[in-house]
């Protein structure tokens, strides 16, 4: 009897509350769409402007017409760049550097993360924090001492590092390894401890536990880390600008700037085209691996 009365009393209050909830929700949705729209415009205008400009001839770019419209569309910029051996060389260098850097990064950071997340050893917690702190040092502080070190190394050993594309394979991992290790530590930590204990009892070594259990289970995190490493090495500008100078050693971002700007002459059409073409590979990779990337970034949010 008593409980029935309570329900009767509560019923009208609840109805009112549901109403106000859905009104709140509707407003929240409107605001979120407004700001999302604003943000989309903000981030999509530059690539759109790049696309428009890349379809114009130099004459049309410098003409005093509406800059947001193409009156005489032309593919000449694309033809010029894609038939230029120099541009293809930049592209090739970028691809080579990125693939190597991703490989090196993964080979170091995955085992490192596994060790730091799972193998309790003296100082492992401190080391894990240290890895993260490394990432906080701004790279623009380091290029001068690094340049000096590499130059000295060249003098002492006779192995040239300055102005060689492979110097980037030494430098980029200092940026990618800490962050990827950090991502993977987080992902590995979300794997229940019983899983590796079960594997150990089943007779797996640490290495087998890593390769046969942890890597497959942590695949989304692994892909997120891979994408990150690729993006960092593909888009890196400061280090290649400092460490490489000969045109056959340049990567794409630096190559575009140094070869398409001659003195005070800016070849805007080709610069925009080059930037657009350079943005394509990460874009394609994101599109294919987006689901994995999101799953990786939200690891541990839900129970596996």
């Amino acid at each position: 009897m008593t409980s029935t009365v309570v329900i009767d009393k509560a019923a009208p209050t609840r109805t009112v509350k549901y109403g106000s909830m859905s009104r709140d929700r509707a407003w929240a949705l409107r605001w979120s769409y407004f700001f999302l729209g604003l943000f989309a415009i903000f981030s999509l205008v530059p690539p759109l402007y790049m696309l428009i400009t890349s379809l114009k001839s130099s004459a049309e770019i410098s003409a005093a017409t509406n800059p947001w419209w193409v009156f005489h569309p032309t593919l000449s910029n694309y033809v010029a760049l894609l038939s230029s051996n120099q541009f293809l060389r930049f592209f090739w260098n970028s691809a080579l550097v990125s693939i190597f850097v991703v490989t090196i990064t993964m080979l170091i950071s995955v085992p490192a993360a596994f060790a730091l997340a799972r193998m309790r050893f003296w100082g492992s917690a401190t080391l894990a924090t240290g890895v993260f702190l490394t990432y906080l040092i701004p790279d623009s502080l380091l290029f001068i001492p690094l340049f000096k070190m590499f130059a000295l190394f060249g003098d002492w050993t006779g192995i040239p590092l300055i102005n060689r594309w492979y110097v980037l394979l030494i430098i980029y991992p200092t940026l990618t390894v800490p962050f990827c290790t950090w991502i993977m530590i987080g992902y590995f930590a979300s794997i229940p401890k019983e899983l590796d204990e079960a594997a150990i009892i089943d007779g797996a070594s640490w290495f087998q536990t890593l390769t046969r259990i942890f890597i497959p289970v942590a695949m989304p995190g692994l892909i997120a880390a891979t994408i990150f490493a690729f993006t960092v090495s593909w888009a890196q500008f400061l280090y290649p600008l400092v460490f490489t100078t000969s045109t056959d050693q340049l990567v794409l971002p630096v190559g575009i700037i140094t070869t398409l700007i001659k003195g005070d002459v800016f070849n805007w059409g080709q610069i925009m085209t080059g930037a657009l073409l350079g943005a394509a590979p990460p874009l394609i990779i994101y599109a294919f691996l987006m689901d994995y990337y999101i799953a990786g970034l939200t690891a541990g949010a839900t129970k596996g």
């Binding site: 009892i201 046969r212 259990i213």
Partner: protein
């Protein structure tokens, strides 16, 4: 298959002693259950047998070999975890065969063993599914299957049924017992549930505060508990404890509960407790089934008294009654037709032939 022995095993974390010197002999083929409240050291003990925890001091012996420094994979044990710990990216068959594949068993042998175990556990239809597609009970079966195919010396179970709902737990309990009857592998099973311990075990090891309180068969522990902890832990509803004193009335030994209520002890008990000091603070331990409605005819050792019930709980085949005596809540089991009702009076009888007498200070059963 092998016997397992623990010799003065101690586990110390920094300044906490989780396991304080355990001696335990487990015979070949035996099913031993470690039971106790959380934090009593039972899981730590199991993990030390598995090799997942180092032991601080003492020896662990499996099949005659001291394995203190032997890594888990070389101890030839299999373990079933509370959260199943199935490899999520592998199918049921791959999960079960993982250990065998690591040891490079021939494919045909692996297939035979997996098929055999799957049939025993009734999961043949699920063999190609991923753990995600299985229910809790099915996952637990797979976890057991993974242990069975290895054909190890010892099975270790770490609260394997705690994640299941009550009904499934009862079902899987029977399942585990059946499996043990078939494979006869030495088993150490950890649980906090005394019903699980009683139903599964050949022998139960009751642990508390990192020590073994008592080891015995389920019936032994139930009828002859050694300490107050065991007496109160084993059995559901739990044993009643009432403060009491011994008294000599007209040359016969009596037990006095309140100013009004004192019972004469039956001859067997009287001889047993004759030597106990009369001024000692004691506890009368009585199981609920020994507190019943008064019978029409008297029997030796069965003493009647009147009580006013606080609460009654009809269970169908019996009614649980609760009343208060000297500040202690007493639970009894009466016939549903005995006329017990909330707040009502009832003439009750206690069976002193099955009583226990405990020292209130030391908790020892006298």
């Amino acid at each position: 298959m092998a016997d397992v022995a623990l010799r003065k095993v101690i586990k110390r974390y920094d300044d906490v002693e989780a396991v304080r010197g355990i001696d335990l002999d487990i015979a070949d083929h035996e099913f031993v259950v470690l039971v106790g409240p959380s934090g009593c050291g039972k899981s730590t003990t199991l993990r030390m047998i598995a090799g997942l925890e180092d032991i601080t001091d003492g020896d662990i012996i499996i099949g005659g070999d001291v394995v203190n420094d032997v890594p888990p994979k070389d101890r030839d044990i299999a373990m079933v975890f509370q959260n199943y710990a199935l490899y999520p990216h592998m199918t049921v068959a791959e999960n079960m065969s993982f250990g065998l594949r690591l040891k490079h068993y021939p494919k045909s042998e692996i297939k035979t063993r997996v098929t055999e175990a799957a049939r025993m556990l009734d999961i043949t239809d699920l063999i190609d599914r991923k753990p995600k597609q299985l229910s809790g009970g099915q996952r637990q079966r797979v976890a057991m299957g993974r242990a069975i195919v290895r054909n190890p010396k010892v099975f270790l179970f770490d609260e394997p049924l705690s994640n299941l709902d009550a009904k499934l737990r009862v079902q899987m309990r029977i399942e585990i017992k059946k499996v043990h009857q078939k494979v006869r592998t030495t088993t150490v099973y950890v649980t906090h549930d005394q019903v699980e311990a009683m139903t599964l075990a050949d022998r139960v090891v009751v642990m508390n505060h990192g020590r073994i309180e008592q080891i015995g068969t389920p019936n032994d522990l139930y009828h002859n508990p050694a300490t107050r902890f065991v007496a109160g832990f084993i059995g559901s509803p739990a044993m009643n404890f009432v403060p009491c004193r011994l008294e000599d009335v007209a040359g016969r030994l009596h037990i006095r509960l309140t100013d009004r209520i004192a019972f004469q002890l039956p001859p067997s008990r009287a001889t047993r407790y004759q030597g106990v000091a009369r001024n000692e603070k004691l506890l009368l331990g009585l199981r609920p089934e020994h507190v019943t409605e008064a019978k029409a005819y008297p029997e030796p050792g069965i003493e009647a008294f009147d009580a006013v019930l606080d609460v009654t709980e009809p269970m169908g085949m019996e009614t649980l009654i609760y009343f208060t005596l000297e500040g202690a809540q007493i639970c009894g089991r009466v016939n549903p037709n005995a006329g017990a009702r909330d707040g009502g009076p009832l003439r009750l009888a206690v069976d002193l032939n099955n009583m226990h007498l405990l020292n209130e200070v030391t908790g020892a059963v006298l």
